[in-house]
């Protein structure tokens, strides 16, 4: 996308035809339509609540955008959420860790899980798809093995501020998400690190020959992916007040769908954080809108699956047309 900006000879200004602008437009229309359809939808309370619910997916979607821009993928994020949630509860209850330490421990486990992905992907050159399918099985398996299907509840009251409380009327976790969105957006757009990601995704060999540290960058983004999943796990536990081994199951679908819907190319090389934010909002909106019109929770994953395939289809056919006209 960043490269295409230079393409001359367009009738419409570039920002109008951008994927993100189109999406924002669709999002606005969908919001208004749902609002007109159901008067409980377009209320401040409902929208803030939806923001609360979309935070976990949003947190993971930020580093997933980085990963997909480099042409990689991380399917283990949902399993890391499960593993970290279990580690949080387990270390607090059975190791006797104070809760703040248990939270740090969960974050460390998530970071380590991501680091393991990154190390094997960069050092041994296992394709990201295969490595993260394998660790999806391993991390979920560890969550099952450690927890033995026991759940942990009864956390101290202050812990619930994170997932259920609010700051100046805005849900706590949404504030965290917004701060991280800004950091991720700036990092992607304005730093060497961010531009390196695009370089890797466009042409990895060229990036290496340009003396970019490809392996270290990849190591960082897979570790970030693990860390963000761990943070999502902490927020999730605080929101639902319990720890279960099947937490985060299927998150990889929502996250990847959101990122791809937001205009990040599954082939790597293009994408923006703003697009991802709109993608995350649209996925949450779909779920909420469908729920309000009486569709059951399980059925919404059909729509997300269709959205995933269609958005990649449309994006790739538009790309092909652009290539042909160029």
């Amino acid at each position: 996308m960043s490269l295409a900006i230079e393409t001359p000879g367009r009738k419409l200004p570039r920002w109008v035809t951008r994927h993100e602008t189109m999406l924002a437009l669709i999002l606005a229309i969908a919001l208004l339509a749902l609002g007109a359809f159901n008067d409980r939808f377009l209320t401040v309370d409902n929208l803030l609540n939806q923001g609360r619910l979309m935070t976990e997916i949003g947190l993971i979607a930020l580093p997933m955008t980085f990963v997909i821009i480099t042409g990689g993928i991380d399917l283990s994020v949902g399993a890391i959420v499960g593993l970290c949630a279990i580690m949080l509860g387990y270390s607090w209850k059975y190791f006797g860790f104070p809760l703040p330490l248990a939270i740090l421990f969960a974050l460390a486990v998530g970071g380590a899980a991501g680091l393991v992905n990154g190390l094997v992907i960069t050092r041994i050159k296992v394709p990201p798809l295969i490595m993260t399918i394998a660790t999806l099985a391993l991390y979920r398996g560890l969550a099952e093995g450690v927890s033995q299907a026991h759940s942990v509840r009864n956390y101290p009251e202050w812990f619930y501020i994170l997932g259920q409380g609010s700051v100046l009327g805005v849900p706590t976790q949404l504030v965290i998400l917004i701060v991280l969105v800004v950091i991720a957006g700036v990092a992607l757009d304005r730093t060497t690190f961010g531009r390196t990601l695009y370089a890797i995704g466009s042409n990895e060999t060229a990036a290496r020959f340009s003396a970019l540290n490809v392996d270290r960058t990849k190591l960082v983004i897979y570790t970030l992916s693990g860390l963000a999943s761990a943070l999502a796990a902490v927020v999730l536990v605080s929101r639902v007040t319990t720890t279960r081994m099947d937490m985060g199951m299927g998150y990889e679908l929502d996250v990847i769908a959101a990122v791809v819907l937001g205009g990040t190319s599954i082939f790597g090389g293009s994408g923006t954080i703003w697009g991802t934010v709109i993608g995350v909002a649209m996925i949450q909106l779909l779920k909420n809108g469908l729920a309000l019109t009486g569709v059951k929770g399980d059925a919404t994953i059909i729509v997300i699956g269709v959205a995933l395939i269609l958005s990649v289809l449309i994006a790739s056919s538009m790309q092909r047309r652009r290539d042909q006209s160029a």
């Binding site: 394709p127 299927g250 990847i256 699956g305």
Partner: protein, 331 residues
């Protein structure tokens, strides 16, 4: 075409032979060795009843792994197969309960399996969408569709004639017969027929395959269609063993099937592997799961063991390739 086949055959036969000395033989030794060790700790593990249960209860994974092997050898992946098997089992069971002729109940999963997978293959091949995106999307469509249509209700009161898996052929139980026949036919076909060889060619180097006269797109669609056929056959064995069909998808089934395939020696980089290894690996994984119970380890550790196994195999596969490539450079 004959040139391709010959070219593919010499190099790939070298691979296959070397592989036979390593991965398949290794798996066979592991299957027997594990049985001996666990039998030593707990002799009840070796009871005929238990071994038969392990083999019969997991034959369907071996069958599905045959199709998955083809998909991975062609350089693709499919993570929708677990959900598909769940859907096909429900369709087959519902037909049986509704009183459809039993042959229709048995044929429906095969036909439907081929249709769904061929459609996915076409999207992958002709619209050039990565298989992971297509099959991830399809997985959620199938899983969500199944739950919203059935509401999670169980299928009971299946007619007695439905239970194909309970039949015997010349004294051998049907699931094992289907598994052995499917594996053998697929192994021979992939090794000796030009079409079978074109799967290796496409997975090894799609552009080179195209220049040799293989149509990579058509090959990918064919591979997915065959994968659907094996998924249908796996469903048949799986569903007709059950007295009650839960109309949900068996969770993590796609991971078990992919693990069996990869542990069986199918290189995840495409182009290499045999279906015999995949079937042996399916048996090994089932054996490990059962062994854990007999040496008093909680079954909740099964998935972790499976995950560790797949990672170890993948890393070993890649490192072996790198060593070989390094040797090649020196020459």
């Amino acid at each position: 075409m004959s040139a391709t086949a010959a070219l593919g055959a010499t190099s790939a036969r070298g691979w296959t032979l070397r592989r036979f000395a390593s991965q398949e033989a290794l798996l066979a030794v592991a299957v027997i060795g594990l049985a001996v060790v666990v039998g030593f700790i707990n002799p009840r593990f070796l009871a005929y009843r238990n071994l038969a249960d392990v083999l019969l209860g997991n034959a369907y994974i071996g069958i599905a792994a045959v199709g998955m092997s083809m998909v991975i050898i062609s350089g693709n992946i499919d993570i929708s197969v677990g959900a598909l098997i769940g859907v096909l089992a429900t369709v087959s069971g519902s037909l049986a309960v509704a009183g459809a002729p039993i042959v229709v109940c048995w044929l429906a999963p095969l036909i439907l399996g081929v249709a769904v997978m061929a459609a996915q293959g076409a999207v992958v091949a002709y619209l050039r969408i990565p298989a992971i995106v297509v099959t991830l999307g399809m997985m959620s469509i199938l899983r969500g569709g199944l739950i919203s249509v059935t509401g999670g209700k169980w299928i009971t009161d299946l007619p007695d004639t439905f239970h194909l898996a309970d039949l015997n052929v010349l004294g051998a139980p049907m699931p094992v017969v289907i598994m052995v026949v499917a594996t053998a036919v697929a192994a021979l076909w992939m090794r000796y027929s030009p079409r079978g060889r074109s799967i290796y060619a496409t997975g090894g180097n799609a552009e080179a395959a195209r220049l040799c006269g293989v149509n990579p797109q058509r090959t990918v669609v064919m591979v997915f269609a065959l994968h659907g056929l094996f998924a249908g056959a796996a469903t048949l064995v799986y569903a007709t063993q059950l007295r009650v069909i839960q109309s949900t998808t068996p969770s993590g089934l796609e991971l078990t099937i992919i693990t069996a395939t990869v542990v069986g020696g199918v290189s995840i980089l495409g182009g290499v592997g045999t279906v015999i290894g995949a079937t042996l690996a399916a048996i090994l994984i089932a054996e490990i799961t059962s062994a854990l119970v007999f040496i008093n380890i909680s079954p909740y550790w099964t998935d972790a063991v499976r995950g560790a196994l797949i990672i170890a195999t993948v890393i070993a596969d890649i490192m072996r390739r790198q060593r070989r490539a390094a040797r090649g450079w020196k020459k």
